[in-house]
């Protein structure tokens, strides 16, 4: 039987990594991820989790230690946020191109400067192209569930890729929520032992991370892309199996109140729950607004997104980060996905909720109203800031 708990989401994520029997945790503490690794260190020190906790000197080293650990066939976990994710940056590409199953929780945080430890999704957007499978969660239960799913996806012999689970920093990591913590036996049943096919093993030597001359690099990248695209069916499979066993279903694109709506709001991450409150409020007033969210950020869910936005006349996007000089990263990807589709909505992009600036349900109603007016007038810029003074 699952245990109903009321705990901080970070602690629940650490407990879940324990339920998944991670063999190695290599991590460096950084706000707002700290409670995840602090609790894991405590679990290892107290003998509750039989794992190696490697207290490395930086995130670059954390990810490098994870490479070695995953290459040896150990179930490997790490967590980071913001600047820490940036310091890992070059090693992220190595993990994915070497096909190493590592699970990483990212407590999404703004990037300096100005220095900000608070939440937004700038760190995610800077690692879009690193070849990691990336999943967004919106509440504590989803963080628990998708941490379990992440190990299953990463270690699937047809996948063998690292997976990031994005958990909004502070807004979600530091919330105390009621959650169902699954039973260890159920997790064991869902998550088979890690069996990396070509591990570092003296009796059968292998060389990893080798040099590829021009005659081989393109073939290596093509193989990586083919494998990454093919991973989607196994991600869907892992979620389907999870649903069968635990009764909670996850999809690449999630919809709320989308039936019969022609105006849609788009969000990613835990702000979506606030947006739902706004949509419920508008529904009471007789206004029907749909909410579309991406859960599976990579591989990008082209087909599901197009399906979800079929029939949309107006799409209002909230981007919780900015690509300076270009606009909202998620909006640009949505526009790219919709290019060439027979019916395209008018799209209005707002940059808001960055660096720890909250958006309330009233704020979302304001964004929706502004977006509808801008789309109707047709005089909106490519993107604009929401909620900035002056």
């Amino acid at each position: 039987m699952p245990k109903r708990v009321g705990m901080e989401v970070s602690i629940a994520v650490a407990e879940t990594v324990g339920l998944c029997n991670a063999d190695v945790v290599a991590a460096y503490p950084i706000t707002p991820q700290t409670h995840i690794v602090e609790h894991l260190a405590e679990m290892v020190a107290e003998g509750e989790l039989d794992a190696e906790f490697i207290p490395v000197e930086s995130e670059h080293s954390a990810m490098s230690a994870c490479l070695g650990s995953a290459a040896a066939g150990a179930r490997t976990f790490t967590a980071t946020a913001g600047q820490g994710l940036e310091l890992m940056h070059e090693v992220l590409y190595v993990a994915s191109s070497m096909r190493l199953p590592i699970v990483m929780a990212v407590a999404n945080r703004a990037l300096s400067g100005p220095l900000s430890v608070w939440g937004d999704q700038s760190d995610v957007m800077a690692v879009r192209d690193t070849g990691w499978i990336q999943i967004f969660v919106e509440n504590g239960q989803e963080a628990i569930d998708n941490t379990i799913c992440a190990f299953r996806i990463a270690e699937n012999k047809n996948v063998l890729l690292p997976v990031m689970v994005h958990i909004d920093g502070f807004y979600l990591t530091h919330m105390i929520e009621p959650m169902l913590l699954p039973d260890r036996a159920d997790v064991d049943k869902y998550l088979p032992p890690n069996n990396y096919p070509l591990p570092l093993w003296p009796e059968k030597p292998v060389a990893m991370g080798d040099f590829a001359p021009p005659v081989l690099y393109s073939e290596a990248k093509k193989a990586q892309e083919e494998n990454f695209a093919a991973s989607k069916q196994y991600i869907l499979g892992a979620w389907a199996e999870f649903s069968k066993q635990f009764g909670r279903q996850y999809r690449p694109v999630e919809c709320y109140n989308c039936e019969n709506a022609s105006t849609f709001l788009f969000t990613i991450g835990c702000f979506s729950e606030t947006a739902m409150t706004a949509i419920d409020e508008l529904k009471k007033q007789g206004r029907n607004i749909g909410l579309v969210r991406i859960r599976l950020w990579r591989p990008f869910p082209y087909a599901e997104l197009r399906e979800a936005l079929k029939g949309a006349e107006t799409l209002i996007v909230l981007d919780r980060s900015i690509s300076i000089g270009m606009g909202g990263p998620t909006c640009s990807e949505i526009k790219a996905a919709l290019y060439g589709q027979p019916q395209q909505p008018k799209i209005v992009d707002y940059i808001g909720g960055i660096g720890g600036r909250d958006i309330t349900p009233e704020g979302f109603i304001e964004i929706i109203n502004k977006g509808i007016a801008a789309a109707r007038d047709g005089r909106h810029p490519e993107y604009e800031f929401y909620g900035v003074r002056g």
Binding site: L100, A212, E219
Partner: protein, 98 residues
Amino acid sequence: MAKSESEITWRDLNIGTIVTEPGSSVDYRTGSWRSQRPVLDSSKCIRCGMCYIFCPEGCIKLDEKDQFFKADLYHCKGCGICAKECPAKAITMAEEEE
């Protein structure tokens, strides 16, 4: 390796381009990088083995027949360290002409 590098397709690669054949790096002809080649004057050579010790590629070996240290030109990158370190000045670097 069954296929030559230029015949390998993306489907032939191991996961993560892992190399499963130990010591296969000896197949890689680093000698093609060379612009200068070490030339040994055996009349000056004192067979001290300093070139063998200093060679960063480990490509200088003792010739069992005549007991001289000689560079394996399949792997020698032509760095010239052997010529620089030779106490008898028995090694000179000659331009590769192609």
